[in-house]
């Protein structure tokens, strides 16, 4: 489970988070939508423990070891091969790279190529593999669709489904309502560091959520 209680954080005179509270239960995915500067990335970085909030607290069951991060930057080393990158990150989690990880993401034939020689879509797939190398129970996704090709987007959806199916939780932040809604069990709209809407998605489709988002953020 993941829980945020009264998260507040300021950068100088800018309030990035203003008393944000919510919880995500096992098997759920929270999609947080908001315009640029709404505080989405700061929220995710606080949940990951990369930023210590000035007020409030974030709790993730299992701590840092349980978290997998997928962002628009792949956190990979271009000079190293796909396999070397995954081995390096696995070593920091004291695990070995799962045998089927590369094949699950269609990367087997690229395993010994340096990351800098791969296309943007393939790099994003390697980034997804990197996030999964320690079998995380919590996925934090920062604008995960940026630069994804169709195959990588499908791989990402499968990965989220797998994690949810095992009782994991995920939080994704994006400004792309259409793409984010399909993956979410709960949706939140964020503006000025606050949640202005937070509810289960229910049976609402992407179009309906997008309409509500436009009204809430306008």
């Amino acid at each position: 489970m993941l829980r945020a209680e009264g998260l507040t954080h300021r950068f100088g005179s800018v309030t990035a988070l203003d008393g944000v509270s919510f919880s995500v239960q096992p098997g759920q995915t929270l999609a947080v939508f908001g315009p640029n500067g709404a505080g989405k990335t700061t929220l995710l970085r606080v949940l990951a423990g990369l930023i210590r909030p000035q007020h409030g607290r974030a709790h993730v069951d299992g701590g840092r070891r349980a978290i997998g991060w997928i962002g628009h930057q792949p956190q990979l080393y271009g000079q190293l091969t796909v396999r070397e990158n995954l081995r390096f990150w696995a070593s920091l989690y004291d695990v070995v790279v799962p045998g089927d990880l590369l094949s699950r993401l269609g990367l087997s034939e690229h395993a010994d190529r340096p990351v800098r020689a791969l296309s943007r879509g393939l790099v994003q797939r390697v980034a997804i593999a990197r996030a999964l190398v320690h079998d995380p129970a919590v996925l934090l996704l920062d604008e995960p669709f940026t630069g994804l090709d169709r195959t990588a987007a499908e791989a990402l959806s499968r990965v989220l489904g797998d994690v949810m199916g095992r009782g994991g939780v995920s939080v994704l932040v994006t400004h792309n309502v259409e793409e984010g809604t399909g993956l979410a069990t709960d949706v939140a709209f964020m503006r000025g560091g606050r949640f202005v809407h937070f509810a289960p998605r229910g049976s609402r489709g992407a179009q309906q959520v997008a309409e509500e988002y436009r009204h809430a953020i306008a």
Binding site: R52, W69, G71, Q75, Y77, Q79, E84, R130
Partner: protein, 228 residues
């Protein structure tokens, strides 16, 4: 025997940095070329009758090593900013100290490889007796290098997110390098002058003390430099 987690994680980071450097070779090549060029400029630019080689060579040796080390230190955390890999390191369930130690080991090996190139060149250009005292000279170089690379690794982490990191690093680092460089230069002068070992023992002790203090201080301060 299983190594402690912090040591294994530090070695994984150091090995990764060295592999990245081995693949790209940009840092080691530029530092190596820099060392050769600086020593050549000093060699051809000096008046051999004005100052004796024994007095001049140690200063030039350490000035060269200092600036070659700064080249290496500037790259240490730059690598982690590409693709935001630093976030991945901070998110991993490892001690912050392991990141520092890994970077320190990689930087030490990088600077050592440049120093291995520089010592024979100094012997060649300045006609000083290096090989008869290579053990003592290696001890001085190791102790001094640990000192300024330890504090340099910390400052590299502090400055890497600033706009003018490559300019800022030498500005904040050089004042802290004055003492170890002064002691190393004095000790090296004594070695080149064929002075007895007990004459440089004091410099070596001070270098060792500096190393202990700044490795410990850097380990303690490092988490604060990378936490937001």
């Amino acid at each position: 025997m299983r190594l402690p987690d912090s040591v294994r994680h530090a070695w994984a980071i150091a090995a990764k940095d060295l592999l990245v450097e081995f693949r790209s070779r940009t840092g080691i090549l530029s530092a190596g070329v820099f060392v050769v060029l600086v020593l050549m400029v000093f060699n051809f630019g000096r008046d051999p009758t004005a100052v004796s080689n024994i007095v001049l060579a140690p200063s030039i040796l350490w000035v060269t090593f200092t600036f070659a080390a700064i080249l290496a230190l500037n790259r240490a955390f730059q690598l982690e900013l590409e693709n935001q890999a630093l976030d991945g390191l901070l998110l991993a369930p490892i001690e912050r100290g392991s990141i520092y130690l890994g970077k320190l080991v990689a930087n030490l090996l990088f600077v050592a490889s440049v120093e291995v190139l520089g010592v024979p060149l100094v012997a060649l250009f300045f006609n000083v007796e290096v090989w008869a005292h290579i053990g003592t000279l290696a001890g001085i170089i190791v102790l001094a290098t640990i000192g300024f690379v330890s504090i340099g690794t910390l400052f590299s982490a502090m400055t890497v997110r600033t706009r003018f990191a490559e300019l800022l690093l030498p500005v904040v680092l050089l004042p802290f390098m004055i003492l170890p460089l002064m002691w190393a230069t004095l000790a090296t002068t004594s070695v080149f002058a064929d002075r007895p070992l007990n004459e440089i023992a004091g410099w070596l002790k001070m270098l060792a003390g500096y190393d202990i203090v700044f490795v410990v201080v850097s380990l303690l301060l490092f988490p604060a430099t990378v936490n937001e």
